[in-house]
């Protein structure tokens, strides 16, 4: 932890240095401070509920440096050979009361640490270099319909011909246990809190090389886009013993996604992913949205999802079940500003069991203002919940907005818990939020929100949120 702290300080100093060096360039600095004070429910020794007072402070620091390349490189239309540096750092500390203290020493559990510094991403980027190449060098995030991951390394997209490109990337996966890494991207399955020798507690701190490639088709505004991608992550064996493999694959996937749009009347998108760790398709999605009669839309969706984990995890053996969803949404526009909608879903668990739900609602918006009201019902595996939700925002002058929200729901979990927890299996809760956003000056915003809840378990549960945002372009 101490070395992590030192590295964090070094990173901040380095980022500051870049800021100074970039004085000749355009750059923007974004600072966002989020303070939260809230109460959360815990279980007292006698089985009753009690409220713990918690506080949380989160600081984001974003830096983007533009125009690193000479302006003469940028071409007649100004959008060739764009070089830039983009970084986002986050410091998050969580403190206040809990039922127990944080374990220390040999019992230390990584995710229970109360202060965490993350380099969310930091890369040198190039766009439209030579009219053909986009690249990123550094910590970067990638996501598409069926995948989401982060790595330290390099990624290059080469536009071979019109509407067809090839992307290759390589580096090391971002994991929580490595210096200057972030656990928020870590694949579930092998938690660093494990201390059984069989789970190889040091395996998580091994470097994980990552390589991937993709063929990308389509354009930003074209009717058809598609992507065929492959990715593999592996690591050497920690605490190697005779008979152990030298290395193992942690993640290996082949995915295909495609989107099709026709004149704002038909949209179809979907993707599928073949998990080469398991030899199975573990993610399939298909969505079709039709603009039928004037201002009416129908969306139909099918989703199949099987939980999969890090290749080192035994849960890939245990996770025999998956679920399949059928979803439908019907929307009707009432003029240019209002819309009503109804949606429903059916979920089928392959093991056994079903769940279903539907909701109806309406929205209205004009300029910065909006109102929204929803009612919902869900039942089946997991339990029942029925609720209503109404929210509104109103712009008052150019620099001020007020917002409010009322919620209420009743629920009943279908799991029969232990006697001590049984009273917690059902209840009602009502909540009210009120707040506002002020534009305090050019690039400076303040957002305040207060929330109070009451219901079966408490007469008052408070939450306060304050966000200060500073965006400066220099």
């Amino acid at each position: 932890m101490r070395s992590r702290g030192r590295l964090a300080v070094l990173a901040f100093v380095a980022a500051s240095a870049v800021t100074r060096l970039a004085a000749a360039y355009d750059f923007t600095v974004g600072l966002r401070t989020i303070g939260q004070g809230y109460q959360t429910r815990g279980f007292a020794a006698n089985g009753a509920n009690e409220l713990f007072s918690r506080r949380r402070l989160t600081q984001y620091m974003d830096l983007v440096v533009f125009d690193i390349a000479p302006s003469r490189w940028r071409g007649d239309d100004g959008d060739r050979n764009l070089l830039y540096f983009d970084a986002s750092l986050r410091f998050d500390t969580d403190f206040g009361g809990y039922m127990i203290s944080r374990p220390t020493g040999p019992n230390d559990i990584y995710e229970l640490q109360q202060s965490q510094f993350d380099i969310l991403y930091a890369f040198l980027g190039g766009r439209n270099v030579g009219g053909r190449v986009d690249f990123q060098l550094g910590r970067q995030i990638h996501f598409d319909l069926v995948d989401f991951f982060a790595f330290d390394g390099a990624g290059v997209l080469v536009h071979l011909v019109r509407n067809l490109g090839v992307e290759v990337y390589g580096g090391t996966e971002v994991r929580g246990e490595l210096p200057l890494s972030s656990p928020i991207y870590e694949i579930d399955g092998t938690s660093p809190g494990s201390r059984d020798p069989a789970t190889r507690p040091d395996q998580g701190s091994m470097i994980r090389p990552l390589v991937g490639a993709a063929v990308v088709g389509g354009s930003e505004t074209g009717p058809l886009t598609a992507r065929l991608a492959y990715r593999r992550i592996w690591s050497a064996t920690a605490d190697w013993q005779p008979g152990d493999p030298d290395s193992g694959v942690n993640d290996e996937k082949l995915s295909f996604t495609a989107n099709f749009a026709w004149r704002n009347r038909v949209y179809a998108g979907g993707g599928t992913r073949f998990n080469l760790l398991l030899g199975e398709f573990d993610d399939e999605q298909l969505l079709v949205k039709l603009h039928t009669f004037t201002r009416q839309w129908v969306t139909l969706e099918h989703v199949y999802l099987a939980p999969t984990f890090d290749g080192d995890s035994i849960w890939n053996v245990f996770s025999a079940g998956a679920y399949r969803d059928l979803r439908a949404v019907y929307e009707v526009g009432l003029g240019a500003e209002a819309k009503i909608y109804a949606r429903g879903f059916l979920r089928f668990f392959t093991a056994s069991g079903r769940a279903a739900g539907y909701s109806m609602g309406a929205t209205w918006r004009r300029g910065r203002g909006f109102m929204r009201a929803d009612g919902y019902w869900e039942d089946g595996y997991g339990g029942r919940k029925v609720g209503v939700d109404a929210s509104a925002r109103l712009g008052i002058r150019r620099a001020f907005e007020i917002e409010g929200r009322l919620t209420g729901y009743e629920w009943r979990a279908d799991a029969t818990s232990s006697v001590a927890l049984a009273p917690n299996d059902e209840g009602v809760s009502f909540g009210a939020q009120a707040g506002g956003r002020w534009q305090l000056g050019r690039g400076v915003k303040l957002h305040l929100l207060a929330e109070d809840n009451f219901g079966t378990f408490y007469k008052s549960q408070f939450r306060g949120l304050a966000v200060v945002e500073v965006d400066a372009s220099l």
């Binding site: 127990i100 019992n107 656990p183 152990d244 749009a261 080469l276 929210s391 001590a420």
Partner: protein, 429 residues
């Protein structure tokens, strides 16, 4: 349940079967792209076209304009070729068939009333044309040299008898008729103003945009992809649109995703107030998908353990009495109901049944992961008798399955957590 399914199916089928062609585009130009403007001129394009006037005959400067900020409205001199205007005679009469020369033949005030100098309540000078620079990049000259006629983009102006307003300016859909990636570039930045890093500039609010309702950021209307309309429900419904990385990054920075998906602040659009009370119901059936924002082992476990909900991993080790700094498993309270692992007689349950851990794990093992570590499972399921109770988690004929073969070929370390080196179970063949 069946009724609901039937109702959804009927509604969907009936509506989807409607006439697709009935969908019409009734959208107006974006107030953020075309801010408010004042053109106090009564002008009948259709009549002039009928009389033989051409676009370029009056809008001469359009042929050479390279900037969207250029004022392309003809000056009075252009009108004088047909309208024999005499500024000293504002009510000058002309012979029938000749172009009118009176001031009020063309000039109107802000309310559309004809303007003449000296009229009571009228300004002494004719109301001025006020144009705001559109938030676009456009080069008329370039389009003219490529032979693109005016009417291709300004068809409504050509046919209109009413005064031309900003409502007659071209919509993006007409641009995309040519900018399809084949005839002309389909890059958004070809027309839209960009930030220095190449992203589209979305903060375009000004006094002129606010005058026509343009108060917020520039957002997609849904006309391009159909699913990208950034309306009040977009945060909840954005998953299909939001996972097309390249498209989103046209306007967004990557940290826009992290804002919500980083899990620091509860987004009210996704979770209602007091969500802690209800989250277990959603978590068990995974609606909404928890893993889209939360990696379970680095988000859920910390809170669950410190609030006394989760099992202590050390307590799950074989041969150890639950060492429980969190209070669980000590009789103080137990999260799971009786019969979760063992039956009333104390025997380990061997077949999945309601309210047993095996059925819950088969339905959604992610729920288990939000509290437990692998050690919890190893305590019973390890094939090593010194470590566990050798209860096999594998289904029948597991060794013949593709899952066994693929897992074994790619990472035997997972197998070695339960099976010892050299044992026959380590091979799938």
């Amino acid at each position: 349940m069946k009724r609901l399914a039937t109702a959804i199916a009927i509604a969907a089928t009936a509506t989807a079967g409607g006439t697709l062609a009935a969908a019409t585009d009734t959208r107006a130009p974006s107030p953020l792209i075309y801010p408010a403007e004042t053109i106090p001129i009564a002008f009948d394009h259709a009549q002039h076209a009928k009389l033989g006037a051409t676009c370029e005959g009056c809008h001469v400067s359009a042929l050479t304009s390279t900037s969207v900020g250029d004022n392309l409205i003809p000056r009075e001199a252009a009108c004088r070729s047909c309208h024999k205007i005499d500024r000293d005679r504002p009510d000058k009469a002309v012979a029938h068939g000749q172009g009118a020369a009176r001031c009020d033949a063309c000039h109107v005030d802000a309310a559309g009333n004809k303007w003449m100098p000296g009229l009571v309540g009228m300004p002494t000078e004719p109301p001025r044309v006020v144009l705001a620079r559109p938030n676009l990049k456009f080069n008329h000259k370039l389009h003219v040299t490529r032979g693109i006629g005016c009417a291709l983009c300004h068809a409504s102006a050509d046919m209109s008898s009413a005064p031309v307003t900003r409502a007659d300016l071209p919509l993006m859909a007409s641009c995309l008729g040519c900018h399809d990636g084949k005839q002309a570039t389909a890059r958004c930045s070809a027309c839209h103003i960009t930030e220095a890093d190449g992203r589209l500039k979305t903060k375009l609010v000004s006094v002129a945009t606010m005058a026509v309702g343009g108060n917020g950021p520039l957002v997609p209307s849904g006309s391009l992809r159909g699913i990208d309309d950034h309306g009040p429900t977009f945060k909840r419904d954005h998953a299909p649109a939001g996972r097309d990385e390249k498209y989103c990054l046209t306007c967004h920075k990557r940290n826009d995703c992290i804002d919500c998906h980083g899990g620091v602040v509860r987004p009210p659009d996704i979770h209602p107030a007091d969500y802690v009370s209800i989250h277990a119901v959603d978590g068990r059936r995974n609606v909404p998908d928890c893993s889209s924002c939360h990696r379970l082992q680095t988000f859920c476990v910390g809170c669950h353990q410190r609030l006394g909900v989760a099992a202590d991993p050390e307590g799950g080790l074989p041969g150890r009495r639950p060492n429980n700094p969190f209070g669980t498993g000590t009789g103080l309270k137990t999260f799971h109901p009786p019969g979760w692992v063992r039956d009333a007689g104390g025997a380990v349950i061997s077949t999945p049944r309601p309210n047993s851990h095996s059925l819950a794990a088969q339905r959604n093992i992610r729920t288990c992961v939000s509290c437990h570590r692998e050690e919890s499972c190893l305590a019973c399921h390890s094939a090593d008798p010194t470590r566990g109770l050798t209860v096999s988690p594998h289904g029948p004929n597991f060794r013949d399955t593709a899952r066994c073969k693929f897992l074994s070929a790619r990472n035997k370390r997972a197998c070695l957590k339960c099976h010892q080196v050299g044992t026959p179970e380590l091979t799938c063949d």
